[in-house]
Subunit: 492 residues, 2 copies
């Protein structure tokens, strides 16, 4: 087999893997939105079967052999990225036994069901044995991957190449910066009160959809459904699905979910279609993905230009709920900063503190410093210390997020990385289109979305995060842009 044929075969194999992985995505979407509860046990079997097949296609020695045959080739940028990324995926996968992959896929499906029940009952004990199992399995996975720091092995899945050492280099100064912003923040006398208006779920959903459609969302290439957990799931090219949450006593809840998920949707939808199924055609990392969602949720969604456009529309759509609220009331409410126990309800400043707590705790769980049974107490203590708030029960405490039940250890840090990256990218986008704010105030988003598409989305994974960030924003990862953004908005 010559080098060219080997490359083609490699791409074919990876595409086959991607098609199977996309089936898992549909299984997950279905679970989150519509699956009858009686289907849970069987869903675990389906996930395990597909996960095993996906793993087989990347861990097989055939991939190593094909990679070896390609070396003589003079590669294009895309081919080069594919080879680099396939090598990485293959090296990871062949260290993990297929049986472990299948066991994790099956266990997390059942664990998520147990977690939902536990959260409903606000009873950690219901979830504890499942968390025990998941942590043990993820520890086995990390050990099989064999990084010196156990957590690094799992972090690497979501943020390729990143380590705890690098995270700490970002998070330690960032935490100081945030505490500084927090201590000097502006105080809105009404807090978030202007948002606490009762608006029916259907009206909130319709307004959120109308808003993201005006920004470019396309129902021919996606859906929006209600779910307990807002998320974006790419089922395949042309089919990227958003879920949003609704709280009838908070009239912007669904809107902010939709803005956030729209960022993810845009990234997935703008990926280079012709490279679908090749690693070079995928999103670079979860951190970059989060930067897209948080850019729309925060840089855009909590800014005056967006609300200049959105405010008359929402007031009309929700009338009379917001009739006595002014644009300035609204802006103060969506930028009100106040430590609180729930991550997904947090303002954008303290949000990062929620992430730091989780990062430290999940690392302790994984590295076995923290016994599972001690998690609720450790959680409450960390919240007291970091945010100065006390959860009233486990549902408001360590049961609030589904990530651990889903086996996603190493995921949380990408949220804070996303915040940092979003600030760098937004600053670059503003430099590229100096009248960006004016356009947004008129409800015109195409300058921004085109810039993101051309500089990030449509580039797939042809470069790693650091280099792509350099190319798009002109600088390496740094916290200065984010610090300046927070200071500008929150302590002016």
């Amino acid at each position: 087999m010559d080098a060219r044929t080997a490359y083609a075969e490699l791409v074919r194999l990876l595409r086959e893997r991607a098609v199977l992985a996309s089936v898992s995505s549909l299984l997950s979407w279905d679970e989150e939105t519509v699956m009858p509860r009686g289907g849970t046990a069987h869903r675990a079997r389906q996930h395990a079967a597909i996960a095993g097949l996906v793993h087989e296609r990347i861990s097989t020695p055939v991939v190593g052999d094909l990679l070896g045959r390609i070396e003589p080739l003079c590669l294009t940028e895309v081919e080069n990225a594919n080879v680099r990324l396939i090598r990485r995926l293959h090296d990871r996968a062949r260290k993990i036994p297929r049986s472990l992959v299948e066991k994790i896929a099956s266990t997390v499906t059942l664990a998520q069901d147990a977690w939902r029940n536990a959260r409903r009952e606000a009873r950690f004990a219901t979830f504890e044995p499942w968390l025990e199992q998941v942590v043990r399995l993820k520890r086995d996975e990390a050990k099989a991957l064999g990084t010196p720091v156990l957590y690094d092995a799992l972090l690497d899945e979501f943020e390729p190449g990143f380590t705890c050492a690098q995270l700490d280099a970002v998070f330690v100064p960032l935490e100081r910066e945030i505490q500084r912003v927090l201590s000097r923040r502006n105080r809105a006398p009404l807090g978030r009160a202007p948002l606490r208006r009762r608006v029916a779920a259907e009206a909130q959903q319709a307004f959120a959809l109308e808003t993201i459609r005006a920004m470019g969302f396309d129902l021919e290439r996606g859906r929006v459904d209600p779910a307990t957990h807002p998320s974006t799931i790419g089922v395949g090219p042309g089919d990227v699905r958003i879920t949003t949450r609704v709280a009838e006593d908070d009239c912007t809840e669904t809107l902010f979910c939709a803005l956030h998920e729209f960022g993810h949707w845009l990234y997935e939808t703008n990926l280079p279609g012709e490279l679908w199924g090749q690693p070079a055609g995928e999103a670079i990392s979860l951190g970059l993905h989060e930067s897209q969602s948080r850019l729309f949720e925060n840089q855009i969604g909590r800014g005056r230009p967006f609300w200049t456009w959105c405010f008359p529309r929402i007031r009309k759509a929700f009338s009379p709920a917001l009739d006595d609220v002014s644009l300035d009331d609204m802006l103060r409410a969506v930028t009100h900063v106040e430590p609180s126990p729930i991550r997904t309800a947090a303002d954008e400043v303290t949000y990062n503190l929620h992430v730091f707590v989780r990062y430290r705790l999940e690392r302790a769980l994984l590295e076995a410093d923290l016994p599972i049974a001690d998690l609720p107490a450790a959680w409450d203590e960390a919240y007291e210390k970091t945010l100065g708030v006390a959860p009233r029960n486990d549902a408001e405490g360590c049961l609030q997020d589904g990530h651990w039940s889903a086996g996603m250890f190493g995921y949380f840090p990408t949220y804070a990385l996303g915040n940092v990256v979003a600030a760098q990218l937004y600053a670059a986008a503003e430099q590229a289109s100096p009248r960006l704010d004016d356009a947004i105030a008129r409800g015109e988003f195409v300058a921004l979305t085109s810039w993101l598409r051309d500089n990030l989305h449509a580039r797939g994974s042809t470069l790693p995060l650091a280099s792509r960030l350099e190319a798009a924003a002109g600088t390496a990862l740094h916290i200065e842009a984010y610090g300046a953004y927070l200071k500008g908005r929150y302590s002016s």
Copy 2:
């Protein structure tokens, strides 16, 4: 490997196949209900990938080898059924190349999309090239299977062991019988007019759900969703999903869809759970499946006992739409017999004629007697001759059903077989519980559903259709019970 180990390995392999096949079911349900249109092309790839894997697991020589090693065993009834059914599946599958299986799975996904568009436009030409492709592929499949009569190869997939010769032996006398019933039928002066009341989709859906829940439907083990085509899709044990259609100007449309699909749901839900994934644990055939749905739709749903219970409820639920309708008006309307162009809207007597037309035409398409381009004319001619009605356009003519776009050639005959079998089974159920009618008139269905479960559903496929029918109804397949039923209800 000893015989016992070989058997265990065989069962494991078949279970793996069944898990993958259940993933295809979810892909199909998703397509029918919620998939954004942009997802079609990728969905075709997903179907092809899964179909190939399913095929691989049954066509592999490993299965033949394992079957050979089992021979010395003394088998239980279940084991014996598994061996018989796996042998049959394996012999079929190894004659068909995997590439053909994948090509069919992918083509029918795209063909169904083309068919939906063609039907919307009432334009056969839009669908013609796709039908051409599907017919060619299904012909290749039939040829690979190598039965003397080409159609028999495809019929056998849905009705194992059945041939055209056997079908004709049932259908020819049945058609005579039906024409006789038709010529002597009672005439209701109002026809179906009492049903033509406008009732909102939501109210119809809620009433249909409430009705089948009273009959045993369980939302923890299923769902009901609106779709263009009513169907029942088993995603896995504990997750069997119904779709229903709604027509706001026909107030019993959704109810009858739900009754029909409830029969399918009950069969799937009552299959022996401990045998899930083994052929012995599956439904015997499509004909028997249809007998269950048609029993609830017709024997129950068009009978006086059911309406004695249902009528006050529906009148109240849809008030004032049915305030001026009496129980007898309603009964006459749901048993009104009148030839019409649409199969799914047909009364239960002429329904069979729709099936005979399709059976003859699809056989002619497959065996290449009938050029694809001539289908619309041949269809209209057959309707004129058999039912005495003329479709107004292709949407009302040869584009009305999705089966051919889905590659389901050989499926239609099972509807008429189901009618015949339903009459035999219902007669047997009545003999077993002589006060069945009284119970149903009180809204008590458990005597019937238990009888069906114990005598059919929970038995899986441990016997072939003929023997199961003998065991449950005491007789071989015959048309007398159905003839007596039709005469009793339609020419008394």
